[in-house]
Each structure stands twice: as structure tokens, then as C-alpha cells.
Amino acid sequence: MPSPATVSPFLDPLEKLLSVHGTPAVVRAVEAGDDAGNARQAWIDSGFADLLMPEASGGAGLPLRMADELLRTCARRLLPWPLDATMIARAAFAGAGGAAPDGFVAIAPQTSVDADGRMLCRGVPDGAAADWILATVAEGAMLVPVREHRSEAVFRGGTVATDVFWHAQPAGTTPIPRGMDWMAIGACLMATRIAGAMERLLEMTLAHASTRAQFGKPLAAFQAVQQQLAVMAEQVAAARMAASIGMLAEGIEPDPLRAAIAKARTSEAVVEVTSIAHGVHGAIGIAAEFDLQLYTRRLHAWRLAFGTERRWQGVVGRALLAAEGPVLDAIVLRAAPPAA
């Protein structure tokens, strides 16, 4: 196995770019519908979207597992463009000898087309910030242009997922040159986002508990609060491991069972982790100007996107019941990384 050190050349530049063009101000601007043009262009120019493409096509040829830490790092900052999905889409085109169109790609978890050809993509993470929606319809997966075409984005109740609607399939729609399981890919990417955002949320919550004082001492000095934070840390550790299991792939496609485990476990952790984070923060966590809500709203949206824990638990459960032999052989060891 290549050493993880292969990733490190990219991590530093990524952190630098995030510190300038991945700030909470940028996150807020993009969510408000601002183009954030400078930041957006900086990300497109950075070449990070090409990392999974073969080296022959100008990429870095990274397998999915080597992108684990990079994508988690983006999620720690809530990068408001779908760099993760764009990386995979670009690699899918390049791997088939073609080239993806320029711009950001967001994957639609659900697409429906009615008898008149109207198309609705429901609950697309970052759908409003993308140039293309990757929609899966009867004929296969395709990139559908969002900008410069007649489309509607509908926001609901403070969620960061978007419904995108077209009156007809727009010109410029481009088929994906390769059949892939985009539901599993989306699930795996959301799991990694959840894990990264949770890591940062834990740090923020620990910092708040150490500085906010009540009854004359920091919240962190209260045993009841300490025990809550320990539980939060446990859930974050489990989510992080689960997400890494999902990303354990040599190519650009996650293993379906591992992706199911990753999404099921990270999504389940969202409930307790966000609840403790808000509980420890107290009322200030509800305030829009405070960054906590940027994280917890996304965690809830990503839990829903591409299927909640119940959906993926069902997938794992059916795999277990269809197999023979004990759970260790049927599921646990199949999810484990191959021996080095």
C-alpha cells in the first residue's frame, strides 16, 4: 500500500486555501445566494477538483482512500461548493477518456421526471451553488446544467439542501460516460462531510465549555458536562472511523457495503452529537451570527441526504441476512481494510 505520506503534499495547500476562501463569511455568502466570485474562482483554479483524475489526464491519480483526509479537512470548514462530488465526476469522465464540463457538480439523491418531461431533483446538497446537477434518470446518470438555464431553486426551513426544477431537460445536458452507483457515492461523501464537520464541532464545543463560566467556574469543570463531552467525543470517533471505512477504495467508487456502513453510522451519530453541542452551548447556539448553527444545520441536512441511518441499516441488514455464517464473516471482516 502506498504510504499516507502521498497525501501530505496536498494537505498544506488545501488548508491555506481554506483559511482564505473557506471562511464562515464565505460559507454564509454562498448560502445567501451570493456568487462569492473570487473564492469560487480560486477553488476552480486550484486544481483540487482534478486530484482523482488519472495522471495521464492531468490529475494526481489518487484513489478514494487517499482523499479521505482531504475531504474531511474541507468538511471541517464546511466548504460551500461540492468539491467532493466534482472530484469524482471529473475522474469518471477522465477515466472514460473524456473530459467533464467545467464547474462544480452536485449529486442529486433523488430525481423524478413527469410525463411532460419536467424534472425535479429533491434535496440536493449544495444544489444552489453548483453549475451542474448529476441526476440519475431511466436512461442513466447525466449532468444537467443549473446556470444559464431555466431552473428554480427552492429553499426550505433553513436547510442547505436544495430542490432544483426544470420545465424540460435543458440543452447542454451531458450523459456520464460510465455506469456508477451514485447513491453509494453520495452516501460515502456525505459520511465524510459529517465526520469532518463533527470533528470541528467537537473542538468548538470543547472550547466553549472551557471559556464559558457559570456558577463561578467553566462549564468544563462540571462533571455532568464532562460526561456529555466524553459521549460526544466517542460518537465523533466512531463517525470518523465509519467515514474512513466508506472511503476505503482503490478506485473512485466506494464499496457498496462499506458506503452503507459509513452513512448509517455517521448519520446515527448526528443526532447525539448535534444535541450535545447545542446543549453545551446553551442559548447562544441558536443565534444566526454564531457559527455553531452553520455546522448543526448541515449535519442534519447531510444525515438526510442520500438516505438516513435507517435506510442504510436496512441495506446492511439485508446483506447480513442474505449471507451465511456469523456476522463477523458476513459483515465485519468484509468491511475491514484488506491486509497490507
Binding site: Q227, R265, G317, R318, I331
Partner: protein, 342 residues
């Protein structure tokens, strides 16, 4: 966990005990991962590994790390052959979670130490040959962590009395062990006199990190899965539950592997081990509760008696999962310390 001395000796004959101990002491000379693989398979098969379990998991490595050359030459080959079984003397009537408050005392006398006091909740004491006990060798109760040492006690020595304790499931895995002026030799101390607390902390990382901390309810889980598989159409609640529990197991297993990697690198991953153990016991305790819920909601022919017996047994002993090797609250306190909160 079944107890079968013959099985342990058979494992020893194959070279499967003391896998991580050096070859010169009769061990396998392998790393923690080799042991992980072997232990996982033994547990998955429900093998009766109780006799050698504690010696293999923690007493052997403890003696290797802190023992004198003579102690290693004497004890390690016997452990590796499955001839020497060990138990752990930590808890006492007045010392549960507050382990540093132990009162059992080894007093310096001519030619060695005189041991007096009592240990409690000792697993497998009547069938073990030796106990490694945490006792006070200097100072008083108020000195807390200072003045504690680990001593090896030959359980056949005069003055040792062992009384089994019947538990709520009808078994007697635990005992109370009394020491009435038991004479220990000069060589009874393990490691440095007065360093017992640090040694026990390191030893507990071994106890808390192994795969057995996530597999206590595995036999029940597999029995239940066989039951669900036998149904023509499994109900949706059972399918989702099976997936949920399997998902947790898969993630916990990799967390265990990560802790083992730290052990293999020579670290003492105390906080990580506490984290995995707390998550693991939460799952082990959730299993009987959730499985009972879906079985009890089923229509159709009743589940097999063997499944219902396993379910009853695990339900009843499950509270001990988050007591042994450090309670849930103690472990969370350790995690909080690791997070810098205390």
C-alpha cells in the same frame, strides 16, 4: 466465557498462548495483531478460553514489561503452556471505582512480605494458580496512589481462602479472596515497589482494548440472526436492527484495531482504550434489549429455547459489561481528562 483447562493446554501446545511474548520465554514472538486475529476467531467460535484468558491478555505482558528475569523465566513459559492461570486482585469491599483506596496490605518482614486483607469480584479465583494483586506496601490509606505495589500471590499458599459468589444468573464466576498473614517471598513484587498505580493503569489499557470488549454479546447476536434467517419473510424492524448492530460492530472492530496499532507501536493508549470500551459496552448492552424487543413483537412460531436462554443470560449479566475493567462513569472521566477538561 467457558473455562476448560484442557482446551487452554491444547492451545498452548500449538503455540497459541503468549503469542506476543518473546520466543525465549516460550512465547510466539509475534505482535499484538497476530493475537488480535487469533482472539477474534476464538471469541467468534465461542471457544472456552476463560482459563488462560487473563494470563494471556494481561498478566503475561505485565510480567514481561515489569518482571524480574527470574519471574519471567518462571512464569512466562508456564503461561504459554497453559499450565499457569492468573486472576486479577484489584477490587475490594471498600474499593470499587476508587481503586486507589485499596486496604489490602503487604508488610515488610524478615525474608519477604506478609499479606493481609481481602479482594472481591475476582474472576476465576478458585481455578487460578496465581493472583497479581494491587496492595499497599508503604504509607497509609491517605497516601492514595503512592505506596501501592503489585504482588504475585500463589493461591495455594497457607492463609489464602477463596469463597465463590453466586451471581444473578446462577453462576459463580466471581469470588472473594481472603489473605490471613500470607507469607510472600522477597521476589513477590512485580516491578518497582511503589509503582503499582502506574503499572495497573498500563495493565488496564490491555484489559480495555481487546476485541472481547465488543464481542460479549456476539453469540446471542449470531443466534438471533440465524433465527431471523429462518423466517420466510423477515420483518422490517428485524432487518433494520440487524443492520444497525452489524454496522456498529464493524466500526467498533476497526476502532479496536486502531488501539491495537498503538499498542503495537509501543504506546499505552489509555484514553483511546477507554473510548472504545465505553462504546463497545454500550453496544453489547443494547443488543439483548433490542433483540428482546423485536422477538417479543413477532407473531408466528416461538423462537428456539436455546436463543431465548442466551437472551435471558446476556440480559441478566449485561450490567456487568459497563462495570468490569472500569465503570462507564470512570471511563468517561478518563476521556474528559484526555480532552483536556480536567
Amino acid at each position: 466465557m467457558g473455562f476448560d483447562a484442557g482446551f487452554s493446554q491444547a492451545l498452548g501446545a500449538r503455540g497459541w498462548l503468549g503469542l506476543t511474548l518473546p520466543v525465549e520465554y516460550g512465547g510466539g514472538g509475534r505482535g499484538p495483531f497476530a493475537r488480535f486475529v487469533l482472539v477474534e476467531e476464538l471469541l467468534a467460535a465461542g471457544a472456552p478460553v476463560g482459563a488462560h484468558w487473563i494470563a494471556d491478555r494481561q498478566s503475561g505482558p505485565l510480567l514481561l514489561k515489569y518482571g524480574t528475569e527470574a519471574q519471567k523465566r518462571f512464569h512466562l513459559p508456564r503461561i504459554c503452556r497453559g499450565e499457569s492461570f492468573f486472576c486479577i486482585g484489584m477490587s475490594e469491599p471498600q474499593s470499587g471505582s476508587d481503586l486507589a483506596s485499596v486496604r489490602t496490605q503487604a508488610e515488610r518482614v524478615e525474608g519477604g512480605w506478609r499479606l493481609s486483607g481481602q479482594k472481591l469480584w475476582t474472576t476465576n479465583a478458585p481455578r487460578s494458580h496465581y493472583m497479581i494483586a494491587l496492595v499497599r506496601t508503604s504509607g497509609t490509606h491517605d497516601d492514595r496512589h503512592r505506596g501501592l505495589s503489585q504482588v504475585i500471590v500463589d493461591l495455594a499458599a497457607p492463609g489464602v481462602t477463596i469463597r465463590p459468589i453466586r451471581d444473578l444468573a446462577g453462576d459463580a464466576h466471581f469470588s472473594e479472596v481472603f489473605f490471613d498473614d500470607v507469607m510472600l517471598g522477597e521476589d513477590a513484587i512485580v516491578g518497582q515497589e511503589g509503582d503499582g498505580w502506574a503499572q495497573v493503569t498500563a495493565e488496564l489499557a490491555f484489559e480495555r482494548s481487546g476485541p472481547e470488549r465488543i464481542y460479549s454479546s456476539l453469540a446471542l447476536f449470531d443466534a438471533w440472526i440465524a433465527h431471523v434467517r429462518s423466517r420466510a419473510v423477515p420483518d422490517q424492524a428485524s432487518v433494520v436492527l440487524a443492520g444497525r448492530l452489524a454496522t456498529h460492530l464493524a466500526v467498533l472492530r476497526e476502532l479496536c484495531v486502531a488501539v491495537t496499532a498503538k499498542l503495537a507501536a509501543g504506546e499505552s493508549p489509555v484514553v483511546e482504550a477507554a473510548l472504545v470500551k465505553d462504546l463497545g459496552t454500550a453496544l453489547e448492552q443494547a443488543m439483548p434489549v433490542a433483540i428482546a424487543d423485536v422477538i417479543g413483537a413477532e407473531d408466528g412460531p416461538p423462537a428456539a429455547a436455546a436463543l431465548m436462554q442466551a437472551l435471558a443470560y446476556v440480559t441478566h449479566v449485561a450490567p456487568s459489561f459497563s462495570l468490569r475493567g472500569g465503570t462507564r462513569e470512570i471511563l468517561r472521566g478518563m476521556i474528559a481528562r484526555g480532552l483536556g477538561l480536567r
